[in-house]
Structures are given as structure tokens and as C-alpha cells.
Symmetry: D2
């Protein structure tokens, strides 16, 4: 889809596509992990995990949308949001990582968060 954009894109299209894919995968993993936590008998120990998952799902989803837009590009907006997104992915990866040995959904979600954090930081690095 990125190849069909009719004007110039200010970022490397391959790297950009990788970040958008990671953001969408992380958003979906977090939505599913929040719900899986709600389905656990031990939900009372997972309330912080649910909350962080909900935040991460929202922020990754929004960041994917913003990065999917190229018209009237503003580097400050992309950069600020990528930084905020990396922060919430770190927070959610840490939280889910702490439950990974107990819950497979948290293990998978922590991996998605870490991959997404890396992708955001990689893009930030090339944006300078």
C-alpha cells in the first residue's frame, strides 16, 4: 500500500512498513492479552497488566494511523508519538514479561511489545 502513495514519503518505505506492521501486531496482541487476563482466575493479580495492555493497544493503534499518513508530514509529530509509543511498549513489555512464565498470552504479548519498541526506536534513530 505504501508504494501507491502518489507523492514523496519522507521516510524509508521499507522501514516504515516494518514499524506500522509491528505497531498493528502489538496493538492487537495487547487487546487480546487484556481480555485473556480478564478471563484468568487470578485476574486480581493482573489488573495492572490489563490497564497497561489497554494503554499500549490505544497508543500503538494511534501511532500506526499517524505513520500511515504522509500528506502534510510533520516530523515533530511523528517523533513525539514514536517516543511516547516506545515508552508505553517498554512499560507493557515489562509488565507482561513479569507474568510470562505463568501466562502464555503475556509471554506472546511481551514479545510483541519488545519488537514494537525496537521498531519505534529504529525509526527514531534514522529520523535523526
Amino acid at each position: 500500500m505504501l508504494e501507491t502513495y502518489p507523492a514523496e514519503i519522507n521516510l524509508d518505505r521499507v522501514k516504515l512498513a516494518a514499524v506500522i506492521d509491528a505497531l498493528i501486531a502489538c496493538s492487537e496482541a495487547c487487546t487480546a492479552c487484556a481480555d485473556a487476563c480478564l478471563g484468568e482466575d487470578s485476574v486480581a493479580e493482573l489488573t495492572k497488566c490489563v490497564r497497561t495492555n489497554l494503554d499500549c493497544a490505544d497508543v500503538c493503534g494511534t501511532t500506526a494511523r499517524v505513520l500511515s499518513r504522509h500528506t502534510g508530514y510533520d516530523a515533530n509529530v511523528s517523533r513525539g508519538l514514536l517516543e511516547a509509543c516506545a515508552t508505553v511498549c517498554r512499560s507493557c513489555g515489562d509488565e507482561c514479561g513479569g507474568h510470562a512464565s505463568m501466562h502464555e498470552h503475556c509471554r506472546i504479548c511481551a514479545e510483541a511489545c519488545r519488537a514494537c519498541e525496537r521498531a519505534c526506536r529504529d525509526l527514531l534513530a534514522v529520523m535523526g
Copy 2:
């Protein structure tokens, strides 16, 4: 991720995963198509397309989230939303389809909308 949900899921997990994937792909295609339309010189002829893309992106994104939740399942909620989603996918597929010969992003987006509409109707059919 669906396999890690700790309780019963009231729908076929393979079919459900296919619908969620189609919804996420359609939502992303619509977000990108809306922006690509804004980047065209002929944007004045594409304003309805932009609007329908924005609606379809929002509705597909929300439907993907709702279908990713299994705790406290309510078939009426899923069914109503799948019907609304199929309607907006039909509308957006028709609108983008009308520009498909001119704009590659509209052609790809129309395909994503039609695939998503089919996936929604397939799931509705097995829900009874």
C-alpha cells in the same frame, strides 16, 4: 494468540482469527487510502472516498477489538457490529471500486473491503 485464551470461546477460533485479520487489514488499507486520496491532485473528486475510508477504518478497527474479546461474550453485540461492519465495507468497497482504474490505492483498498465484508458475512452465517 486466540489459542492462549484461558476459557471457552463461543466461536470457531480459526474462522474468528480470519475475520480479525481481515478487519485489521481493511482498517489499515482504508487509513492509507484516505491519506493517498488526500495526496492526489484530483482530491476534490475523492472527498466521498476519503470520508468512507475514514468510517470504514474506524468501524473495522472497533469490530476487530470487540471480536478479540471473549470474556462475558454477548452474541447480540458481536452480531450487530458485524452487520454494521459489513455494511460499511460494502459502501467503501463500492466507492473505492469506482476509482480503482484510476488509483492503485483505491483498487487495493476495494479488495480489502470486499474480503472483509465476505469474512464478516461468513462469520454471521455460522453464528446463526
Copy 3:
């Protein structure tokens, strides 16, 4: 804001504004109620409530966006979404209503859901 739209709007602007306000208020109430449920000691008894709140927040937020758009209006899209939204508001109002005597946030949220369901059905009635 509705008064500044530069072309015709196919629905009564006063009624439309009332529905959009009700949708936004309901979406915010549901987001807050989901989190307040997570903060309760009895969260294990509130997992269905959290889930329904999350669905209702998403659907009301999306419906508010769709109804805030008038360019390229498609009555079928608005109608289908209003029906789906009324269904999820009913579901969430019932669920929160069941906890209203125990939790003030559920009582307030149930009221917001019922007001929103009424607003959706009122608009559907005049759409014919």
C-alpha cells in the same frame, strides 16, 4: 461546530448534536468505569462489566466519529452503526445497572449508557 459545516447535512442538526454528545459522554463513562472496576477489590466479579465497558467505549467512540462526518453521507452506514451502538449500550447499561447498588461508577455509567441508547433510537426513529 455542526453549524460551520459548509454544505447540507441530511439530519436535524440539533438532534444530531445531542446524539454525538451522548455518544462521547457514554464512551468516556465506559472507559472510566472499566478502569474503576479494575481498581475494585471485587474485580473478579466485575470482569464481564470491564469487557462490556470496553466494547461500549469503542463502539460509542466510533459512532460519534461517523456521525460527525457529513461529506458523502450514506444513510445505510449511519443506520447500521446506530443500531449496533444501541445494542451495545443496552448490553452495557444492563451489566452496569446490575452493579449500580454496589458501585457508584457503575450507577453513573449505566445512566450514560441508557441515555445514549435512547439518543441512538431517537435518531433512528426520525431517519425512517
Copy 4:
């Protein structure tokens, strides 16, 4: 609704409520302004405005959700997102401000963006 949260909230509830209200108002103004721009004959001159509106609507909506959650509070997440949100509100306020003399929807939207930027920065200031 904030008064019904069952545990401690790490931020001043009055100030927090003001920011959430500003975020929701700004998100709604931006969604409506994007669509009103699409309805203008001069849409070709407003494509950057539409895009910035869409970003600002998404980021403000997500920030409102994150700030509406208090369970498992992480100050780094709130702070990073408030900074990103202030940046996009500044960008959108400037863009809409440039069209304010021509389009009443842009004038109203620019005001909502500036009020929201101020509210985000005020909260950041007291978070230290």
C-alpha cells in the same frame, strides 16, 4: 466520574478532569473540522489541514483514554503521551489557525487545539 474511582489517584482530580475534557473536546473538533474541510470547494488547499486534524483527533482521543485510567499508574507513560499530544495540538492549532479567517470551523478548531495544548502543558508542569 473521577470521584468514584475506588483507590488513590496520583494526580489532582480537578486538573485531571479539565485536561480530559479539553482532550475530548479537541478530538471531536478535529474530527468535525477534517470533515468540514472535505466539504469545502477549496479542499485541495486544505489537505494538510485534514491530515493534521485526523492525527490530532486520534492522539487526543487516545490521550483522554490513557488519562482516564488510574489502575497501575505509570507516570512515564502519561508524561510521554502528554508531550506528544501537546506537540500535535500545537501543529494542528497552527495549521487550522492559518485558515481561521477563511473557515469558521478552522477558527473554532484552532481554539480547541490551543486550549488542549495549554491543558496538557499545565498538567505536565505539575507532574514535575
